[in-house]
């Protein structure tokens, strides 16, 4: 047989060779696919039943047969996370991210791992990629999940400015259901954005005026914003609806007290102003004396400030009666100014006040903020 014939036969033999190999390869891949699926299902079962270690083994087997199927590698990574093996999970996720840098799920998991290890820059980076990334199912819901987790992480890290920025974006995208709005409101509170928090709680109350958490949150936000009338209204409604935490009850008490003793409340009669101012002066004097007594027993503590204040008190006491204060607005101002300075100094020197002293301190702070 000539070379040409032999070469032709060889070329022709390629056809059945490819056909047979193709058939065998098809059967081989099908078998591998079935085995991969079998191990994948086992892994899912193990995960559901809380057996993370067994799930890792199962997904590893699945990955072996699926020839690096991203789905199996992702589930393996998630199983490793469930098993507390974050470093290994991260390695698999980074491998996946090489092929799908915009995959929302992968970036979200990486963000969670980074957050768990306190890695702020990477956590922010991955969470943002998750928010901007591609999601196969329920993209809006998952983006919200990512935003919430990121905001919570930033609040926990006390990076309030960044947290507020995220929360503002979240507030624009959150659905109008009470739970979500309240959750955002609480995060705003933790992020020291009281105005935004109050706005979120009010949004909630528009839908559900008797929402306990929203009422409590609105009360707390109002209290921090020194709007004690609103705080009292919200907090009293909240307490009427059910048990509230101790700090909230204290805020309610303080708000109520402030409204009762603040001589600068609008539309107060002069007599009542004078009475309140005189009462406030009395409380301040007592506070000063108690603080001085406390400090006298501490070695090496200077009490010049308190002495100076005491001198002022001594000078003002003969004139700080209720009638005089009611007749003389300037005297009232002067007296209340001294009261606020006493309370402030006492707080710095002798610790956080309570009761009337706390109320007077907050009244003074609000007044100072308003004057500015």
């Amino acid at each position: 047989m000539s070379r040409g014939h032999i070469l032709t036969l060889l070329l022709l033999a390629l056809i059945p060779s490819f056909a047979v190999t193709g058939y065998l390869a098809g059967a081989h891949h099908e078998r591998d696919r079935r085995l991969a699926e079998k191990w994948y299902e086992r892994g899912e079962t193990h995960l559901r039943e809380g057996r993370a270690g067994a799930a890792v083994d199962a997904f590893s087997n699945a990955l072996r047969f699926s020839r690096d199927d991203p789905r199996d590698r992702l589930r393996l990574a998630q199983a490793l996370i469930a098993d507390g093996r974050d470093a290994e999970a991260s390695s698999h996720l980074l491998t996946l991210r090489e092929d799908e840098p915009g995959n929302g799920t992968i970036n979200l998991e990486l963000g969670r791992l980074a957050a768990r290890s306190g890695d702020l820059p990477n956590a922010v980076r991955y969470y943002h990629r998750a928010i901007d990334g591609a999601w196969e199912e329920e993209p809006e819901r998952w983006r919200r999940v990512a935003r919430f987790e990121l905001a919570e992480f930033l609040v926990a890290q006390q990076t309030y400015a960044a947290a507020q920025a995220e929360l503002i974006a979240l507030a624009a995208n959150v659905p109008d259901d009470s739970a979500s709005l309240t959750r955002v409101g609480r995060l705003f509170l933790h992020a020291k954005a009281d105005d935004d928090a109050l706005r979120m709680f009010r949004r909630t109350l528009e839908h559900d005026p008797r929402h306990p958490a929203a009422l409590a949150g609105a009360g707390e936000a109002s209290f921090r914003l020194a709007n004690y009338r609103a705080a009292r209204n919200y907090l009293s409604q909240a307490t009427r609806l059910g048990p509230t935490a101790s700090p909230l009850r204290e805020m309610l008490q303080t708000s109520t007290l402030i409204l009762a003793i603040d001589p600068f409340q609008p539309r107060l009669a002069a007599r009542e102003q004078g009475r309140r101012a005189a009462e406030a002066f009395g409380h301040a004097v007592d506070r000063l004396a108690a603080c001085a007594r406390e400090l006298k027993f501490l070695p090496g503590v200077l009490d010049e400030d308190l002495s100076r204040l005491q001198t002022e008190v001594d000078q003002l006491t003969p004139r700080a009666g209720a009638r005089s204060l009611a007749r003389d607005p300037d005297l009232l101002e002067q007296t209340m100014d001294l009261v606020f300075r006493i309370e402030n100094t006492a707080r710095q020197r002798c610790g956080q006040p309570q009761g009337h002293d706390l109320a007077l301190l907050l009244i003074g702070q609000r007044r100072t903020g308003a004057e500015r």
């Binding site: 070379r3 040409g4 390869a25 072996r64 690096d68």
Partner: protein
């Protein structure tokens, strides 16, 4: 039906006439396709055998783990010892032997036997790999086709490496690695004639394998970047450890193998079974050491093992592979080498991470570099190992650490083990194959080693015969170089000058009487001395001219000069 009549009447030998060189290239392509198909079937056979014998879990049942390698070893040994002794070993040496000793002849029964026995041995859990046998399968197919086509002896000899490249490319899914390995380790030369065929077959083999098995890289590693320059010290350390590990593998293997080969036949049949039993017992606790182990390399790459376990796996794999290979089980060394390197790389990473937690890259990078290091240190293919790592991972950024670690590992291995493992194995088999490593490092003698000092005079074509004769008498040379033109040299003898003067032609210019038919070929100082030897013929000397200016004479070489240079002892 005109087309049918034409098809029937087609006579390829009449209408298509290919030269043997053209046929060689076409055949290279066809060999690549068939080798690719064979390797695909081979891989599937190994997978199916493993599934059948050990089940579909990464951690098989204890009874299977212990018994299967032992029984399979016994069966394979019986076949090898009693029926197919030529399928023993990895296959690389046999391919080289085919090229250098047997004129490219590899019996087809070797291909068939290798396919079957390695499917069983690797699939049953013996610690060997499929790449080397794939290389031999491809070479065997190439040999078969070459014989069918009655190629010349020269082409037949070169066809085996062509097939080898295709088989290796298909097995590794990496054509560049295959080409480099075959050139570096089998052929040993970058001849343009064979390079094209090797590349063509490697590409077609790899593409065929990718068609059926997918084109994913062998290993998936996140993009690597150097965390800190001091990390290179860690990679250098990896190179040192890799070099030592290579010695720990190669020396015992060579020592034990030479002893076992002298044992009676009964021992040769039982040895693989005993090796299988030992591997099975190791595999009960450490199933990772069984088989090729690539799935476990992937796990190591993703940090799923502690550094202590990685170190243990490296040691155990050395033991297991040594047992399998030394006992005579057919199978390859590529995969175990990569596995050992991967584990060592991961272990080094684990230790470095404790010492320098903020300055260490990902585990996967160290695993990759470790693989390359062991490949360079054990198989002594440094160029192949660098490119292989880049190619199988698709990650070019790893190349600097790979080069550093590979070089160190290679040098350490060379220092304490002068002969590469494949050469040593050949010597044990009583076959004196040329060592590619030695060939690479043999100092090539050059013309400048033989050059005589510059001739006292260089005449030009404008010089008169009288002038030339007068100047020639001041020296005792019989002949002198003459530059007739900027790129034309010839020579003139004193006797010829005297004769021309006697004829009264003393006033004439040399250029007018010396013909271009007497022109001398020239050589350059950096050319191999062999070039001068081929050119000098009967001539008195050859001019040695400057490369940038062939009119500038550097010196002359005579035949005596050339032979003296060859006789002189070489350095290194």
């Amino acid at each position: 039906m005109t087309w049918l009549r034409r098809a029937v009447a087609f006579r390829p030998d009449r209408s298509v006439r290919l030269s043997e060189a053209q046929l060689f290239l076409v055949l290279a392509f066809v060999i690549g396709l068939f080798s690719g198909l064979s390797v695909v079937c081979f891989r599937m056979a190994i997978d199916s055998t493993r599934l059948w014998l050990l089940g579909d879990t990464l951690g098989p049942a204890v009874s299977r783990v212990v018994l299967v390698p032992a029984v399979a070893g016994l069966v394979v040994a019986a076949v090898v010892v009693l029926v197919l002794p030529e399928v023993r070993g990895s296959g690389v040496n046999h391919t080289k032997a085919a090229v250098y000793i047997y004129d490219g002849f590899i019996p087809f029964r070797t291909v068939f036997g290798k396919f079957l026995t390695c499917s069983v041995s690797i699939g049953s859990g013996h610690s060997l790999g499929p790449e080397d046998p794939s290389l031999q399968i491809g070479a065997g197919l190439a040999s078969l086709f070459g014989r069918w086509l009655r190629l010349s002896r020269d082409h037949l000899r070169l066809l085996a490496p062509v097939g080898a490249a295709a088989g290796l490319a298909a097995a590794f899914n990496s054509p560049i690695t295959a080409v480099l390995f075959v050139i570096e380790e089998v052929i040993g030369t970058w001849s343009a004639g064979v390079l094209g065929a090797v590349v063509l077959s490697a590409v077609s083999g790899a593409v065929t394998a990718q068609w059926f098995l997918g084109d994913e890289p062998l290993f998936r590693v996140p993009t690597y970047h150097l965390e800190h320059p001091s990390e290179l010290v860690a990679y250098a350390l990896l190179g040192v450890i890799g070099g030592i590990a290579a010695l720990a593998f190669v020396k015992p293997v060579l020592s034990l193998r030479s002893r076992i080969r002298r044992r009676p036949r009964r021992t040769l049949i039982l040895a693989p079974a005993m090796a299988g039993l030992a591997i099975g017992m190791i595999g009960v606790r450490f199933p990772q050491v069984m088989g090729a182990g690539y799935e476990f390399v992937d796990q190591a790459m993703h940090g799923q093992y502690t550094w202590q376990l990685l170190a243990a796996l490296a040691v155990l794999k050395i033991v297991a592979t040594g047992l399998s290979f030394v006992s005579g089980v057919p199978g390859g060394l590529f995969a175990p080498t990569l596995f050992i390197g991967a584990m060592i790389g991961g272990a080094v990473h684990g230790v470095v991470q404790i010492v320098l937690p903020d300055q260490v890259g990902p585990t996967g990078a160290y695993v990759l570099v470790g693989m390359g290091t062991l490949l360079a240190a054990i198989l002594r293919a440094p160029i192949t190992s660098v490119f292989m790592i880049v190619e199988v991972s698709g990650n070019y950024s790893i190349i600097l650490p790979v080069m550093i670690s590979n070089t160190i590992g290679y040098l350490i291995s060379r220092r304490f083990q002068p002969h590469p493992i494949f050469d040593a194995l050949s010597q044990q088999d009583g076959v004196a194959l040329p060592s590619m490593e030695e060939q690479r490092e043999t100092t090539v003698q050059r013309v400048e080693d033989a050059i005589r000092r510059r001739a006292p005079f260089v005449f030009t074509g404008e010089d008169s015969i009288d002038d030339a004769w007068r100047r020639a008498r001041e020296s005792n040379l019989a002949q002198y170089p003459v530059r007739l033109a900027p790129d034309v040299w010839t020579l003139v003898s004193v006797e010829a000058l005297e004769n021309l003067r006697a004829e009264g032609k003393g006033d004439l210019a040399l250029g007018s009487v010396l013909g271009l038919s007497d022109r001398l070929p020239w050589v350059h100082p950096d050319q191999p001395l062999e070039a001068a030897l081929r050119l000098i013929g009967d001539r008195a000397f050859l001019p040695v001219v400057h490369r940038a200016n062939v009119g500038q004479l550097e010196g002359i070489v005579t035949l005596d000069d050339i032979l003296s240079a060859y006789r002189r002892p070489r350095d290194g």
